[in-house]
């Protein structure tokens, strides 16, 4: 935790009564008030659609897709940026306020070397020489070497790219840096290093930071003050301690409680204990005072495990010959019937590859897969229909795994037809409805296309499509990572119910909190090798392997 900002630090940004409306005049954000002092990190938190990014852009006087700033002031460096003309706004951007977007790979030009891109940013202050570029790199803890400047963005890791993006934002020494979800998509240890960097830069008084995020636990580690946004309004502001320690607004309470920590997932429940999807619930905020937050208790290992899937000595490598890269090496893993196994590791550890190999989408270079006592062919096309039906995969991002032109009904019905071509139309409809009911997707949503559904609803369609095949094993590849926290909890609750009903699940994730509330056993994957397997509690509370310990330590905790 950073020290409380002293009253002596100067206010660098003062936002009052800011309102942004769409082309049709509907407000996206209303009456937003924020202040920021030099050396301070102000977090703006909220779920998707709460107006976080609109707010972030409005701080630069910018809007998207026909929207406009209709009211309010954004005082920056003594001037109201919202009232300035485009050319004058541009003069402030970069020099007084700068912006780091969510995905650094889209900000960096893939065709230019890092040095040139830093040079462009430095040109704002006429310091475009190699020494300045190198100095800038060292400020974000990157090697300030000439060789590094000659690299292209694709030669850097995601974390390094984000550091370069931050360096570009720092180049002209602005007073304010707006970071829009800067660590979303990075894995926990990289994320940890980025937030440390932001904290260091703030403590050194480099600038004031506005940190946009959906992750309250993360925010509690990096921010001095927090503003919670909900449906376009700031519903609560204060120091981290005030807001997260004693949340006043019911939504803040729900958000704080549903953030997964390493101690498990809390779900938001209504009076009768059913999980509630905050994102999808349309009622007035006051109705939530009736909602309760319930912790999902950890699970005990299954009694009398009967192995249904056995992975023996599995190895996978991409490319061949000298350029071969081993993704998995000698992986042994058994999943029992009715068991949920959590597979955790950083991105690049090979965990998705393992899931895809089991599903028959990646061919292993060595090793064997046994399913219910019979050898599984490497490729899904060579497997027996019964085996294909028995192992189903749910993908990470429903935006990619659902056909945008198909309604939920069509997507699920297609899977029914694939596995049961002879089933009649009426019976098919029944099975689609049964699958929708099983994932608690309201039936009236089945007629909608993915673009008309929320993230959680889309993922429910994807799960229903897998379940309608009546699998014995469901492979869930980071199924919650593209969802808001309150929604994540409801999906985990759903998977847990499915698991209780007897479905074996391989739950692939980097989220240790989620896995504690769901898995019977955990396997930790480090650079393609399983370094630790064991009951959930043992692995998370008494890790034997140093890598597991590091992974647990890097997970952001709600520190209040």
């Amino acid at each position: 935790m950073a020290p409380e900002p002293g009253s002596s630090s100067a206010t660098v940004m003062d936002v009052r009564a800011l309102e942004v409306v769409t082309r049709t005049g509907r407000p996206i954000i209303e009456d937003v008030a924020l202040t920021l002092r030099r050396g301070e990190v102000l977090a703006v938190v909220g779920e998707s659609g709460s107006g976080k990014t609109t707010t972030a852009l409005a701080l630069l006087g910018a809007t998207r897709g026909g929207a406009r700033i209709s009211r309010g002031q954004v005082d920056i460096g003594g001037r109201d940026i919202a009232a300035l003309r485009e050319a004058q706004q541009r003069a402030l951007r970069g020099r007084v306020i700068s912006y780091v977007p969510q995905d650094p790979s889209t900000q960096l030009n893939p065709a230019h070397r890092i040095g040139r891109q830093l040079g462009e940013a430095l040109a704002l202050v006429d310091r475009d020489d190699e020494a300045s570029q190198q100095e800038l790199l060292t400020r974000v803890n990157l090697p300030g070497e000439a060789a590094f400047l000659r690299r292209y963005p694709f030669e850097l890791s995601g974390g390094q790219q984000q550091r370069v993006a931050i360096a570009m934002a720092l180049a002209a020494s602005p007073e304010i840096i707006v970071l829009d979800e800067p660590t979303t998509g990075l894995d926990v240890t990289t994320q940890q290093r980025i937030i440390q960097l932001v904290r260091e830069l703030a403590d050194a008084g480099e600038a004031g930071f506005v940190y946009i995020s959906h992750d309250l636990a993360l925010v509690s580690e990096v921010a001095d003050r927090v503003a919670v946004m909900f449906r376009g309004k700031v519903i609560e502001t204060g120091t981290v301690r005030e807001v997260l320690g004693a949340p006043k607004h019911p939504f803040t309470r729900i958000l704080a409680a549903s953030a997964p920590g390493p101690h498990g997932v809390n779900i938001v429940a209504n009076e009768v204990g059913e999980a509630v999807d905050v994102e999808a619930s349309d009622g007035p905020a006051e109705a939530w005072t009736a909602l309760r937050v319930e912790a999902l208790p950890p699970r005990m290992p299954v009694a009398d495990p009967v192995g249904v899937l056995e992975v023996r000595g599995l190895a996978v490598s991409y490319a061949r010959g000298r350029r071969a890269r081993n993704v998995l090496a000698d992986v042994n893993l058994t999943i029992a019937a009715r068991e949920c196994v959590g597979l955790v590791g950083e991105s690049g550890s090979g965990k998705s590859t393992l899931g895809r190999t089991i599903a028959g989408l990646v061919a292993p270079t060595a090793g064997s897969l046994t399913w219910a006592g019979h050898e599984l062919a490497a490729q899904v096309r060579r497997r027996q229909r019964e085996q294909v039906r028995g192992i189903q995969l749910v993908y990470q991002n429903p935006d990619r795994s659902l056909n945008p032109r198909e309604t939920g009904f069509e997507a699920i019905a297609r899977a029914v037809r694939s596995f049961d071509p002879k089933v009649g139309a009426a019976a098919r409809t029944d099975r689609v409805h049964a699958a929708a009911d099983r994932v608690r997707l309201p039936r009236h949503l089945l007629g909608r296309r993915p673009t008309e559904l929320s993230g959680g609803e889309k993922q429910r369609v994807a799960i229903a499509r897998a379940l309608v095949a009546l699998p014995e094993l469901l492979i869930c590849d980071e199924v919650t990572s593209a969802l808001d926290v309150s929604t994540q909890a409801t999906i985990i609750q759903l998977l847990r119910e499915l698991s209780d009903e007897g479905l074996a699940i391989l739950y692939i994730t980097h989220d240790l909190g989620a896995v504690r509330s769901l898995a019977h056993r955990i396997a930790v994957l480090n650079q393609g090798e399983i370094c630790e397997v064991g009951p959930c509690e043992d692995v998370l509370d008494r890790p034997q392997d140093p890598y597991t310990a590091e992974l647990i330590a890097s997970t952001p905790l709600m520190r209040v």
């Binding site: 795994s401 694939s418 089945l446 007629g447 296309r449």
Partner: protein, 293 residues
């Protein structure tokens, strides 16, 4: 068990009707449709209402418009109006059937390659690159010189010219879709290639395809006219607009109508097709139809 209303409503016929309606309500779409309709009416009804036979000499060559020949006479003294009215059908039929044929071959090939092996893809790209490096008119010239002129041969030649271009567009568009997880999921489930192509690939690429189709018809019309202009079109005296431009260009100063009218009709056809297909694809992308929010 009862169906919910949203599921019960079969979306396709109603969706298609409302799509056409939405397109026609936009000024661009309406103007495009009107221009196309004009050319279609001239081409289809024209032969029935033409005042003279296309071969009959009705006056002195390159005569100005008169009561007997409303648009004057051409370089051989034949009625320009009658030849214009007779010259559209062949042009439209050849251009559209050639484009359809090019799409049948190029699109199937492009989608198949995007879904299947990479070896076939590499070979196909090589072949297509060679074909694309040849100027279209040269391909047409060689094919027509070898096989002899005639409307069917011209249509085939145009299809040969267009198919590699269609392949490139469709391959690029469908590769993007084929890389998505829902395609992998369908393939892993064991859905047939035809089902994947129809429901996953075609359903997601037909907006760019439709725009491209419009552009291709236009370019087929222009290619056909160019071939006719070069004397490789259907043998005289059967008229087509490209051939008329070529024949009558010598008299353009004394009697411009024999050139201007076919030129204007070809231009109206091209612009109209583009306006209409553009509006179609924009409307579908905006999700104005089929239930966008």
């Amino acid at each position: 068990m009862t169906l919910s209303p949203a599921v019960e409503a079969s979306p396709s016929p109603k969706g298609a009707r409302s799509l056409v309606w939405t397109v026609l309500r936009q000024p661009q779409g309406a103007v495009g449709a009107l221009m196309l309709a004009l050319v279609a009416v001239v081409a289809l009804i024209g032969p029935l209402v033409a005042p003279h036979d296309i071969r009959t000499v009705v006056g002195i060559p390159l005569a100005h418009p008169s009561h007997a020949a409303r648009l004057g006479t051409d370089v051989l003294g034949r009625d320009v109006l009658s030849r214009v009215l007779n010259g559209g059908l062949t042009l439209l039929a050849v251009a559209i059937s050639a484009t359809l044929l090019a799409y049948l071959v190029g699109a199937c090939w492009g989608m198949a390659v995007s879904l299947r092996s990479s070896a076939l893809d590499v070979v196909s790209i090589g072949v297509v690159d060679v074909l694309l490096s040849l100027p279209p008119l040269v391909i047409g010239l060689v094919l027509l010189a070898g096989a002899g002129s005639g409307n069917v041969t011209i249509a085939l030649a145009l299809a040969v010219i267009q198919a590699p271009r269609v392949f490139r567009i469709v391959r690029a568009a469908s590769r993007e879709v084929a890389a998505q997880d829902f395609v992998e999921a369908a393939t892993a489930r064991g859905d047939s290639m035809w089902s994947v192509v129809r429901r996953d690939i075609l359903a997601n690429i037909w907006t760019p395809m439709l725009t491209d189709f419009g552009l291709r018809v236009t370019s087929s019309v222009i290619l056909f006219s160019s071939l006719s202009f070069l004397g490789l079109g259907a043998p005289p005296p059967s008229p087509d607009w490209g051939q008329m431009i070529s024949e009558n260009q010598i008299g353009i100063v004394t009697q411009p109508w024999g050139v201007v009218v076919p030129v204007v009709l070809i231009a109206v056809l091209s612009v109209g097709t583009n306006l209409l297909t553009d509006t179609f694809s924009r409307t579908m992308n905006n999700g104005a139809v089929g239930g966008g929010r």
